[in-house]
């Protein structure tokens, strides 16, 4: 007898998983197949698309730009977000603290289109020509709320009396930071920075409005797609995917290790 109450949920779950991952699986598979067209059946295995993607100077430059953007955004939004979060927990009045927190998280739900256009208008108004720097500033705005969110969660469970204990035992403010604060928040800081890098790597909308003639990987891919599908796009997408998965997994693991301690 068919046990419908078991088969139905299982079937449904399978469908949803397929729906979520089939497009990604297709792109990863075709980045390794010999057929230059997206067609079935799969003919042969090759790394040619990776070779051609990486030897294409346009793509190599875009990749380098994307990595520069990701690194800048990770470091700067990391530093700013951590400093902001420390300032936030020091605010005594609860309503002010929650207002500031909500305010700093708001950009996460403002449409990227609005952020992108607003920045473009602003940069033009102050006479700053479009380019990588403008895109980097945009990426920081996009990542900052997530850094603040991560750090705020960490600091809310942080036992600040440990810092007083350190001072009491003879540590200067700097020594207390070096020996106690920093080791305790380091995993969260790195996790937040990896998340910021991940958000930056595949950011398209804000970048497109502000990067000018330069290319980041998503902007370049968008341009290539308009001229027809080049199989090296599959390779680029797969590289991007691999980078993102690594960043997000590492970020999560650090977050978890932090929670356990």
């Amino acid at each position: 007898m068919v046990r419908w109450n078991r088969v139905l949920p299982a079937g449904f779950v399978t469908l949803v998983v397929l729906y979520l991952y089939a497009p990604i699986a297709v792109i990863v598979i075709f980045s390794f197949t010999t057929s230059p067209r997206l067609s079935m059946p799969i003919e042969g295995f090759t790394l040619d698309w990776y070779v051609s993607a990486l030897s294409n100077p346009l793509i190599a430059t875009a990749l380098r730009n994307s990595l520069v953007l990701a690194a800048t955004s990770a470091v700067l939004s990391g530093v700013m977000g951590v400093a902001f979060s420390f300032g936030l927990v020091a605010v005594r009045r609860a309503w002010l603290r929650s207002t500031l927190l909500a305010g700093s998280l708001l950009p996460a739900i403002v449409p990227l289109l609005v952020i992108g256009i607003a920045l473009a208008v602003l940069f033009r108004a102050v006479g700053m020509p479009q380019g990588l720097l403008n895109a980097a500033i945009g990426h920081m705005i996009v990542s900052l709320p997530f850094v603040v969110l991560t750090m705020n969660a960490r600091l809310e469970s942080f036992d600040f009396s440990t810092l007083e204990a350190a001072r009491d035992l003879g540590a200067s403010a700097w020594q207390a930071f070096r020996d106690i604060t920093f080791p305790l928040i380091r995993p969260s800081v790195i996790g937040a920075m990896l998340l910021a890098a991940a958000l930056s790597l595949d950011e398209f909308v804000v970048t497109w409005f502000n990067i000018g003639n330069q290319q980041s990987v998503p902007v370049l891919v968008w341009g290539l797609m308009r001229r027809g599908v080049d199989p090296s796009i599959n390779a680029i997408a797969t590289i991007l995917l691999a980078l993102l998965v690594c960043l997000v997994v590492a970020s999560n693991r650090l977050g978890r290790r932090n929670g356990a301690s």
Partner: protein, 359 residues
């Protein structure tokens, strides 16, 4: 006269909206165990944190060993603080926690190791040195916090309700241990608590605080037997408070009217004039209860009988309606029932006349 180890003079502390300390004066001798006792919010922690250097007083001075330390940061003071919840460094082992202050003082490795061993032995945690704080029980964590604070050999050890998070049995055991350690080191301890039993058990001297002031200081016995206010007598131990009016004098003794009844009490202060109202604090364990018809004492009717195991607490109502509690031994209450007529009496010396009869 030797200078006190800790000298607190005219200390005031205002936070934006409220006064946390209001003219606090307190002298503490070297080697003394002093408790700051009072209800939550009365300013105990604020006083301790000013001594430790975490808060600055609005005015007043703190001297330690004759030296004015007001205005010095915590890392430049000869005090160490044991925090309410330990505040152990979660990423350091027990040994590293205890050694942290020594490392900052640049002790060399072998001397440091010896000192840490000594401290671990003192708090009886010899085998726990390599554990992380998360692997310790609440009692062990507080012992490590104590060892860490004592490792630097402070002139004055400050403790802010260090036992309040522990359960009763462990707390009682730790009270005795802490007291024993203090005696062994002959160190000066200032101990904050809101638990009157804890203060009575541990202290050489108790300073009772209320509303930012020290309202009475003295040995546990003095405070228990001779409270100087309704607040103190009520806060320390169980007590009966009988409010009455002075209606006359008789050979150096006051006659006090309590409802219908008249009782006499020794007049140990000059300011008792006829017509003034006072409260008489009578501890339940000093109240006698006599069932013989015509016995001397205040006539009352038994209204409550509460069995406590080691004793029985009997409530008897006076003619005026006031309930007086007496703690009796179990066998003394045989045949006693609700409604039994009794005469209540107590040793005059056991009763304390206190100011502030309004309750």
């Amino acid at each position: 006269m030797t200078t006190p180890e800790v000298e607190i003079t005219a200390l005031h502390k205002r936070f934006s909206t409220q006064t946390a300390l209001d003219r606090v004066d307190l002298d503490i001798a070297a080697g003394e165990f002093v408790s700051l006792l009072g209800p939550s919010g009365c300013g105990k922690s604020t006083l301790l944190r000013i001594i430790a250097g975490f808060e600055q007083p609005t005015s007043g001075t703190v001297r330690i060993h004759g030296e004015d330390v007001t205005g010095r940061p915590p890392d430049k003071r000869p005090t160490n603080l044991v925090f309410q919840r330990g505040a152990l460094f979660p990423h350091m082992s027990v040994r590293e926690n205890i050694g942290y202050g020594l490392k900052l003082r640049r002790w060399d490795q072998s001397r440091m190791r010896a000192r840490i061993d000594e401290m671990l032995a003192l708090v009886r945690l010899d085998s726990m040195g390599e554990r992380l704080p998360s692997q310790l029980s609440g009692g062990q964590a507080q012992r490590v916090a104590l060892a860490r604070a004592l490792a630097c050999d402070p002139r004055v050890l400050l403790l802010d309700e260090p036992l309040s998070a522990l359960d009763l049995k462990l707390r009682e055991q730790m009270q005795l241990e802490l007291r024993a350690i203090q005696r062994r080191l002959s160190a000066t301890f200032i101990f904050v608590t809101h638990d009157q039993t804890e203060a009575l058990v541990m202290s050489d001297r108790i300073a009772i605080m209320n509303g930012g002031r020290i309202v009475q200081q003295g040995t546990p016995r003095e405070i228990y037997r001779r409270p100087n206010s309704v607040f103190v007598s009520d806060f320390i131990g169980a007590t009966n408070l009988l409010s009455g009016e002075v209606v006359g004098m008789e050979g150096g003794r006051l006659i006090l009217a309590i409802g219908e009844a008249r009782i006499t009490v020794p007049a140990d202060r000059a300011s008792y004039g006829t017509g003034r109202r006072f409260a008489l604090s009578v501890r339940p364990e000093t109240v006698r209860l006599d069932r013989a018809p015509g016995a001397a004492g205040l006539a009352a009717t038994v209204a409550e009988i509460v069995y406590l195991g080691s004793s029985v607490r009997v409530g008897a109502r006076l003619g005026g309606g006031q309930l007086i509690w007496a703690d009796l031994r179990d066998e003394e209450t045989e045949g006693l029932d609700i409604g039994t007529l009794v005469a209540l009496s107590w040793n005059e010396a056991a009763a304390a006349l206190v100011e502030g009869n309004e309750r």
